[in-house]
């Protein structure tokens, strides 16, 4: 499975992605969780000890591609080796590869960002499941940061601002080699909310995660939902989402 979560700021992308990755791993998959947000987020939802490290400079070299100076992984280092070397090992055996977290210097990490994308796109299909968590909004998705995914899940709250973001993100379907685009209704409070998301984004809604104070309570403590409240309704909903996506990806 190769899935990426996108959506408006605060829609619940990291909460869903972190829980989803671990529940998928519990079903026996080898899971690589990818956090391309320059601000920390996914590590909290996975329950991995936070660090700011991305792919270190020693693993990166400068090169010229199409006449442009850019960076790539040091030659001789495969994407898979880079993952095994630089990803953190989290609960349930999930590996977390993260973009180096911004420390405040302009233009820093340029090399590390390029190399990150090479790794993410170079991880072999066979033997890996990838769960990606993108930052808020349209910037990264529209500049190709979700290209590794076969399915892009737009996380949408039943609010006009979140629906508007969802409509914009649905335009990813117009890209060459477009991924399959679906929506998950997040923080729903009533039965009509999934329909609101479907009608407001034009996307098929493949799952619903209810508004659940266990999620924000866990975030207050800085604890992962799955560790803090394993029986929370939101966990059950995300587990159902795992089943749905496994079934859908198995179909041609």
């Amino acid at each position: 499975m190769r899935v990426a979560f996108v959506g408006k700021g605060g829609a619940g992308k990291s909460s869903i992605a972190g829980t989803f990755a671990r529940l998928l791993a519990r079903r026996g998959e080898r899971v690589l969780a990818i956090d391309s947000d320059p601000m920390p987020g996914l590590a909290f939802s996975l329950g991995v000890d936070r660090s700011d490290a991305g792919i270190p400079d020693v693993a990166i070299e400068e090169c010229v591609i199409d006449g442009r100076n850019t960076f790539r992984l040091r030659s001789g280092l495969s994407a898979e080796e880079a993952v095994l070397r630089y990803a953190d090992v989290g609960p349930d055996g999930v590996l977390l590869l993260q973009l180096g977290k911004a420390r405040g210097v302009r233009g820093e990490n340029a090399g590390s960002h390029q190399a990150f994308q090479h790794v993410v796109e170079g991880v072999p299909d066979h033997g890996w499941s990838i769960v990606g968590d993108l930052p808020a909004g349209t910037r990264q998705p529209f500049f190709g940061w979700g290209r590794f995914a076969r399915t892009v899940v737009v996380v949408v709250e039943p609010t006009p601002a979140s629906l508007l973001s969802g409509r914009r993100l649905a335009r990813l379907a117009g890209m060459p080699s477009a991924p399959r685009l679906v929506a998950v209704a997040s923080k729903t409070r009533g039965l009509g909310d999934a329909e609101l998301v479907r009608d407001g984004t034009g996307l098929p809604v493949i799952g619903t995660v209810p508004f659940d104070t266990s999620v924000s309570d866990g975030d207050r403590e800085g604890a992962a939902l799955l560790d803090q409240t394993p029986k929370a309704p939101a966990v059950a909903a995300i587990d159902e989402l795992v089943s749905t996506l496994i079934n859908e990806e198995e179909q041609p």
């Binding site: 408006k8 700021g9 605060g10 829609a11 990291s14 947000d37 320059p38 601000m39 920390p40 987020g41 909290f44 936070r50 911004a102 420390r103 405040g104 210097v105 302009r106 930052p135 808020a136 909004g137 349209t138 910037r139 998705p141 529209f142 500049f143 190709g144 039943p158 609010t159 006009p160 601002a161 508007l164 973001s165 914009r168 335009r171 990813l172 117009g174 890209m175 924000s216 975030d219 207050r220 403590e221 800085g222």
Partner: protein, 247 residues
């Protein structure tokens, strides 16, 4: 005066920016609300309504499509492409990224350049930033007057807020006021204060009337002006205008 509003995704930057802008306008100041998010939706929180908000075009897009034949200064552009809304707030979108596009996301018109160029501006500019620290990092050493850091009492949100506060202090980017948002109890406020000691903090309660207004696509200031959360945001606006008191 220039006010920048920063914080984690979904922390409440846009909700806060909208109430601040309208509070300033109501006090008689010429107010420009700058939507600096590449996924803009400040129009909704200001009360422009869904349809009008979706039709607004960013200054950069207007330039791209060649609509702007003889572009003058940025200020003139904002004059041309801005629209007037509730309480006379003028709203302009800087640069939307509304379609998948190849190329470089950082060239052309940018919020940080626009803000730096706006020295001659009269009244108040309220700049609603994109989630995260990208824009304040790119501000370099060009200060604004006040940076409002919106932080929820969660580990993720406070982690972003702490980094923002460090950066603003290190670079001297402006007076920091923390909007502790969605506060439920004294523990919540204590969480915020312990991560961000020695800073001015305004506490904004978790307000069902704000959630409701958001769901209905209306401005909280119109639908629930007397709700505690909305009043707290108005008071935050008054605080921004007043001189700093010690934390």
């Amino acid at each position: 005066m220039k006010v920048a509003v920063v914080g984690k995704g979904g922390s409440g930057k846009t909700t806060t920016s909208a109430v601040l802008a309208r509070t300033f306008a109501r006090s008689g100041l010429a107010t420009l609300a700058l939507d600096c998010d590449t996924n803009p939706n400040l129009g909704l929180s200001l009360g422009y309504g869904e349809e009008a908000t979706e039709k607004l075009v960013g200054v950069r897009q207007a330039l791209d499509t060649g609509e702007e034949g003889h572009a003058g200064s940025m200020i003139e552009l904002i004059d041309r492409f801005g629209v007037d809304g509730p309480d006379g707030v003028r709203l302009a979108i800087v640069s939307a990224i509304e379609n998948p596009e190849p190329g470089c996301p950082c060239c052309g018109v940018s919020p940080e350049r626009l803000l730096a160029d706006m020295d001659s501006v009269e009244g108040v500019v309220v700049a609603d930033f994109e989630a995260g620290l990208g824009t304040i990092i790119r501000m370099g050493d060009d200060p604004v007057d006040v940076v409002v850091i919106v932080a929820e009492p969660t580990a993720k949100s406070l982690e972003v807020a702490r980094r923002a506060a460090d950066l603003v202090k290190e670079r001297g980017l402006g007076r920091v006021i923390v909007a502790a948002n969605r506060v439920r109890d004294a523990d919540d406020l204590a969480r915020v204060r312990s991560v961000l000691p020695d800073l001015e903090v305004s506490s904004i309660p978790d307000e069902p009337a704000i959630t409701r207004a958001e769901r209905n696509g209306v401005a909280p200031l119109d639908s629930a002006p007397d709700a505690a959360g909305v009043r707290a945001l108005v008071e935050l606006g008054e605080r921004v205008l007043s001189s700093p008191i010690s934390a």
